[in-house]
Amino acid sequence: MSELEEVMVKGDEELLGEHLGVFTARSTERRILKAAQDGGIVSAVMIYGLEEGKFDGVIASVTDPDDPEEPWKPRPVVITDPDEVLEAAGTKYTYCPNVSVLKEAVRRYGCERVAMVGTPCQIRAVRKAQLLPVGMRHVPDKIELLIGIICMENFPYEGLKTMVEQLCGVWMREVAKMDIGKGKFWVYTDDGEVKTIPIDETHPFEGEPCHVCTDYCAELSDLTAGSVGSPDGWSTVIVRTEKALELLNEMVEQGLLEVKSIEEVKPGLGLVEKLAQAKKSKNQKEIEERKELGLPEPGKVHEQL
């Protein structure tokens, strides 16, 4: 049994999706941790994959905090150079159409082995593109690895801007980092100031379409990463496929990832499961309510036409 497999535990698959194991991890590279949101897992996997030739392109989102028009508005990119991965590090709390560049990655960039990081809904979109690729010529077999991120909901750009500028009192262009954790929305400024608002105050700005999604942990990913359940600076990682496990095993063996059992840390896996349950119950209720209004159920729109 590998060092990684020794620390892996299993959680409730009803809530987390099918998986081989869960653990807590962080990158051992300073430059990654400095740029990353939490433990730098997504960045580390992408850099390792590109350097080792496991991927020849990764899809991620980049943002320009100094954009004069729309600071912090992300756009999707296809990255082929491992040195450029860290430009995409860090969470962006607004929509970024990562899947929109999927065909471009294969067709224009000529990538044969694509990795993508995405929210649960985006991972689902790519899986469907693999199963029924009506408009996705030559894409299905080019998907090498899908990295999901744990996600409760997302915010439209204007919503995020309102939270940052109106509620936190910080100009978007002065923001150095945003974060959600410990029941709060956090804004760190370039000057070293820290502003927070309770997470409850952000609810009015959530994207409504997120409320029909019952997938918290990107259940169809190869591996999922997120801050929930792990201490500051660490990420909770859910491994689902053998392919992902093999890659993570190599990274641990090469000393690129530091791993721990999630049972040894606080707040632990229980919190991930609790929040997954909360998302599932809340949003299933929303789906039912929408049905009563005569609105279509997600995934069954065609049935009602």
Binding site: P76, N98, E104, A125, A129, L132, V134, P140
Partner: protein, 235 residues
């Protein structure tokens, strides 16, 4: 062995090219069927009785023979599949004004789904080779449960075009801005702006790719994905 016919109506042959674009896997498909009619590939003048007919292209209502050929398929074939957007949704044939020089008055082109009782429709211009392969594999294996969305699309209720994406996904508060529609669009008519698709209607050819590919319109089910995609079949 399943007797398969391939009929071409008013179209460009692109769907047949897409079918052939499955490369060596085309041979696997051909191993599973007996091809009994296909004008491009074999010398057979009449569509014989068959189990499955794949129909590419739109029906020209000005062309009696074409309408008849389409209608006769109901008698000749057990299962009728509208392959590609011209047969499924109408596609750009909806805008066709004047056929080739020999028949310049031909201008009324409709999808097969408007003329005959179609069992399954596979939109896309053309449908990706992998989509055709998947569809045929599921059909030949009799996994009809997964084919239900294609059966529903065959009812031809609408074009499943960029407008439908607006009316039935964005306007119904379900679009989460993943960008799948933009990637699926063969004419780059869709751009994601502020997390939602903006459709350039002048460029939309009504091929149905965006609506069909959207994960919020038709969801095939997690189990199918775990079995057929994540189970290693694609490796």
């Amino acid at each position: 062995m399943v007797r398969l016919a391939y009929v071409q109506l008013a179209g460009c042959c692109g769907c047949l090219v897409s079918l052939a674009d499955t490369y060596e896997r085309l041979l696997d498909i051909l191993d599973e069927v007996e091809l009994v009619y296909c004008q491009t590939l074999m010398d057979e003048r009449e569509v014989p009785e068959c189990d499955v007919v794949l129909v590419e292209g739109a029906v020209c209502l000005n062309h009696e023979e074409c309408v008849e050929e389409a209608r006769e398929l109901e008698e000749k074939a057990e299962t009728i599949v509208a392959l590609g957007a011209c047969a499924s949704t109408g596609n750009f044939m909806r805008y066709s004004r004047g056929n080739e020089q020999s028949a310049p008055t031909h201008e009324a082109f409709v999808p097969l789904t408007e003329v005959v009782d179609v069992d399954y429709a596979v939109p896309g211009c053309p449908p990706a080779p992998e989509a055709i392969e998947r569809f045929l594999t599921l059909l030949l294996e009799g996994k009809t449960e997964l084919l239900e969305p294609f059966a529903k699309l065959a009812e031809g209720k609408t074009e499943y075009c960029g407008c439908d994406l607006m009316y039935h996904v964005v306007n119904k508060n379900m679009c989460m801005g993943c960008g799948t529609c933009a990637a699926a669009c063969p004419t780059r008519a869709i751009e994601v702006v502020d997390g939602r698709p903006v459709v350039n209607e002048d460029r939309c050819i009504k091929c149905g790719a965006c609506f069909t590919q959207c994960p919020r319109t038709i969801w095939p089910g997690d189990e199918a994905i775990k079995e057929l995609v994540m189970g290693g079949e694609e490796e």
